[in-house]
């Protein structure tokens, strides 16, 4: 069944079953591999994307459920104000280690800052605890989110 979805501002048509998770459409059909597979059942957050600025675990999001919702992935998050600030903070604090989970971390963090530009530690923990990092970069992720948020506030 041909389905058209809007990804990073571009309409893409794919011919897969409607129950196919967005993750595999992105990675295997469209070759957009910045979004990562980690667990397959929404436990780790590595596959996080935005649909209309809301964070979604793409591994459990059937393509049929997306409709006209605009999908944003890690490849385009730098074009948003929050995504750009976060990527810079991630580099300033050298957050990454293996880096595999970091696409999902940044997508979750960007969604947080879009709704809450001045999050407390508790706010950050509540949102970001859905994203697993086996390298253990949590301390720097938390600091980088605060740093990006502070920069955003200065810019406003």
């Amino acid at each position: 069944m041909a389905t058209t979805i809007k990804i990073n501002g571009v309409n893409r048509t794919v011919d897969v079953d409607g129950d196919t998770p967005l993750l595999w459409v992105l990675r295997d059909v469209l070759g957009m591999t910045g979004t990562k597979f980690g667990c397959g059942i929404a436990l780790c957050g590595a596959c996080t994307v935005h649909i209309e600025r809301t964070p979604r675990r793409s591994c459990i999001t059937p393509i049929s459920s997306i409709g006209h919702g605009a999908v944003t992935t890690i490849e385009a998050i730098g074009a948003t104000q929050q995504g750009k600030a976060l990527q810079k903070a991630w580099l300033d604090l050298d957050v990454v280690q293996c880096g595999y989970c970091q696409s999902g971390q940044i997508m979750s963090a960007a969604a947080l800052l879009m709704t809450n530009p001045n999050p407390s530690d508790a706010d950050v923990d509540a949102v970001m605890s859905g994203n697993v990092c086996r390298c253990g970069t949590y301390q720097r992720i938390r600091a980088a989110i605060h740093k990006a948020a502070a920069r955003e506030r200065e810019d406003v």
């Binding site: 897969v16 591999t33 059942i41 436990l43 990527q87 050298d94 990454v96 086996r134």
Partner: protein
């Protein structure tokens, strides 16, 4: 491994002499993230390549070839800093390449193979890479000096340019032909920089792999793309040693996008146009299994077998003084046992491998810690010559020892033997956890006797567990002794006049075991530091003071102990229900001490609030990496101490995903502080050390808070309920 770290100058010469044969015309086709990809094809044949690690092209672009793999530990940055320091180039401008498999050029001098592990990369490559950089710099300076008709000693190099004593200068790019024509000097005879002149080593540097890891461009093995690629989902026999009984192939093939069902001995793969179709096809296949010889195996069987093993005498790892005699004379005696579970690695990037098998070649795309071993095993499996196995290494989405193993690659090749064209095999998280090769379970037995002053007079330790060394590196398993299983137990940092340490090999039926981040040190530091803490309590001494009294022979250990105690505010009051615990270790060529602040709630929940870590790992290449490894390694070790256990029932692993093999999450993450002792000693290894130090500090804090001693991991909150 730390005992065999000496690199003979013969090894070094061999390494660099071999390296000198690496010509500039060799074109490498490597999968690299776009920003890291050099314009290599354009420069082939026109570059200065005095060894296998450095290429400089006509435009002055510097490409460094990374002999060890980047799996998060920061090694690409550290190794680049070491080369760039001597080569005198701008670190921010170097480009990196993954090395192809080639032991002659890239073997790690500690492990004698091109393998990344045992925290050996910086230790093994410290001298060879400094020499590689210095050889290149020496040649470039000589080339410039010759052109100017001056003595090389009057010239110097800085940021990719050679300067004479006056105002003349030439960029490296303008010297590549002249430098290539000069004879390559003996690496052992080139002048290395004095540490006081270092401008990179010891200064915090930004990671070179960060930019591509924040925008989705970094390419891990799982990300490889190519025309005609098919995708496979696999199911392996849930019971270890089981086989496929039946498969409903027709039902699987009826799923849209499914192309093929491949059945091999202990596994089924469904090949499809994309992973989801393959997963659906696998489910439709309704595979029935013959559970095989381990169908009734349970966790109790494993620990019963280990406990029985620990009653037998084993291979002697160390025997100093007369431990038995001293024990008989002791004023106080302790007999204790410790029990440690199987652990999975659970790297964030699930196991995967892409294979294109043709009649006369086998191409592999993956991230592996052991490229040459993998290449050899694939050659043996396929019957192809080694050179026909082309392995494209990638960034690793976590290694932790899992990617030292070729099991997943060999399975992928067996599947590819039935597939026409390239196929990407991705394990589900469930397969990844249920068919890991596990950190061995252990059962350890110790007897310690104290003298009248409270100091250990006799120390007897018997380790029982699977030998990873015997399987992975058989030549190093000698006289029944697994040096890794006793690492950290055979030579604790304390004054122990009468010590006897043994190892008993006990192999669990059917359960594959493997190295796990921190290796034997993780279990042994937990045991030694728990017991030392018990001894301090028995003689009513403060845990820090007691340790101090046993460190007369070990000033570096004493140094980190004192630093951790001081920075943590040891002895100052904490809120009710909270307490501090300390641990100390000497491992991987360095020293660490850690203080944990821990709260135990009335219902037995353990909350770790703060970790204060003091480090003396000799000369530090990138201090920011040391801090990052402390932050990450302690989380890895803490996750295992709090939650980590792979258990067995009916021959199957009971855990399946991150719900029941639980990782720590951000809300549980403690505040972590790192303090580094300035040192001129040789660099120590660091990727694993913080993973080992953390558990005993936490359980010692639990003891201080509750009076309850943890000797079985993971920590059981039920035992801590007040």
């Amino acid at each position: 491994m730390s005992k065999s770290t000496s690199i003979s100058s013969l090894d070094r010469r061999h390494l660099l002499k071999g390296a000198a044969t690496f010509g500039g015309g060799l074109v490498l086709r490597l999968a690299l993230p776009p920003v890291m990809r050099p314009a290599w094809a354009a420069t082939a044949g026109q570059s200065f390549a005095p060894n296998a690690f450095i290429h400089i092209d006509r435009a002055g672009a510097v490409t460094l070839v990374m002999p060890m793999v980047e799996m998060g530990q920061g090694v690409y940055t550290a190794l680049s800093m070491i080369i760039a320091e001597e080569l005198e180039v701008d670190l921010a401008k170097v480009r990196l390449e993954h090395a192809p498999p080639n032991d002659a050029l890239y073997a790690n001098a500690i492990l004698h193979i091109q393998t990344t592990g045992l925290s050996s990369s910086v230790r093994a490559f410290w001298t060879p890479l400094r020499q590689a950089g210095a050889v290149a710099r020496t040649l470039l300076i000589a080339a410039a000096a010759k052109r100017w008709g001056v003595a090389p000693e009057t010239c110097r190099a800085d940021r990719g340019t050679v300067y004479d004593a006056g105002s003349r200068y030439l960029p490296y790019g303008a010297l590549i032909e002249a430098a290539s024509a000069l004879p390559i000097p003996n690496p052992d005879e080139v002048a290395l920089k004095q540490p006081k002149d270092f401008t990179l080593i010891g200064m915090p540097a930004r990671r070179l792999d960060s930019p591509d890891k924040v925008n989705g461009k970094a390419e891990f093995g799982i990300d490889v793309k190519m025309p005609g690629l098919k995708f496979a989902a696999i199911a392996i026999s849930p019971a270890f040693g089981g086989k496929v009984k039946s498969v409903n192939e027709a039902a699987s093939l009826a799923v849209k996008g499914v192309r093929q069902v491949v059945r091999i001995d202990n596994a089924v793969a469904v090949i499809a146009d994309h992973t989801w179709a393959a997963k659906k096809g696998l489910q439709a296949a309704q595979i029935q299994w013959d559970s095989g010889p381990n169908a009734t195996l349970t966790n109790d069987d494993i620990f019963r077998q280990l406990e029985e093993g620990s009653n037998q005498s084993g291979a002697v790892a160390r025997n100093q003084g007369d431990a038995d005699g001293a024990l008989a004379k002791a004023t106080q005696r302790f007999d204790v046992t410790y029990q440690l579970p199987f652990l999975a690695h659970a790297a964030m990037e699930p196991m995967n491998c892409t294979v294109h098998l043709r009649k006369d070649s086998c191409e592999l795309w993956l991230g592996t810690q052991a490229p040459t071993l993998t290449q050899r095993l694939v050659a043996e499996l396929t019957g192809l010559p080694k050179d026909a196995v082309k392995l494209h290494n990638h960034l690793l989405g976590g290694g932790f020892g899992r990617r030292l193993e070729a099991d997943g690659t060999l399975l992928a090749v067996k599947i590819a033997q039935h597939v026409n064209g390239p196929v990407k095999i991705i394990w589900s998280r469930e397969e990844d956890i249920q068919h890991d090769m596990y950190r061995p379970a252990y059962y350890d037995r110790l007897s310690v006797g104290l003298d009248e002053t409270g100091k250990p007079l006799a120390w007897i330790h018997r380790v029982a567990g699977s030998s990873v060394v015997a399987r992975y590196v058989p030549p190093l398993f000698q006289n029944g002794l697994d040096f890794d299983a006793v690492e950290g137990a055979a030579s604790p940092p304390y004054d122990l006049p009468n010590i006897h340490v043994e190892y008993v090999r006990v192999e669990p039926p059917g359960i594959p075991t493997a190295f796990w981040r921190g290796v034997g040190v993780v279990k042994n530091v937990f045991i030694v530091e728990s017991l030392i803490d018990d001894l301090a309590a028995a003689v009513e001494q403060d845990p820090v003071s007691y340790r101090r009294s046993l460190l007369g022979q070990n000033p570096r250990a004493l140094g980190v102990l004192n630093l951790a105690a001081e920075r943590s505010g040891w002895g100052q009051p904490l809120s009710a229900g909270s307490a501090r615990g300390i641990s100390l270790q000497s491992a991987f060529g360095g020293f660490m001490s850690l203080v944990a602040e821990v709260e135990v709630t009335p219902n037995g929940m353990v909350k770790v609030h703060r970790l204060v870590c003091a480090v003396d790992c000799g000369i530090v290449v990138n201090p920011d990496t040391i801090a990052a490894q402390v932050e990450g390694g302690t989380m890895f070790g803490l996750t295992a101490a709090l939650y980590g256990a792979i258990t067995l029932k009916n021959g199957r692993v009971q855990q399946s995903n991150f719900n029941d093999y639980r990782p720590m999450r951000m809300y549980e993450a403690p505040r972590i502080e790192t303090y580094i002792v300035k040192s001129a000693e040789a660099p120590g290894g660091f990727g694993e050390a913080p993973c080992a130090i953390v558990a005993p500090a936490v359980t010692n804090a639990i003891f201080a808070a509750t009076g309850k001693r943890i000797r079985t991991l993971p920590i059981d909150p039920l035992l801590l309920k007040s």
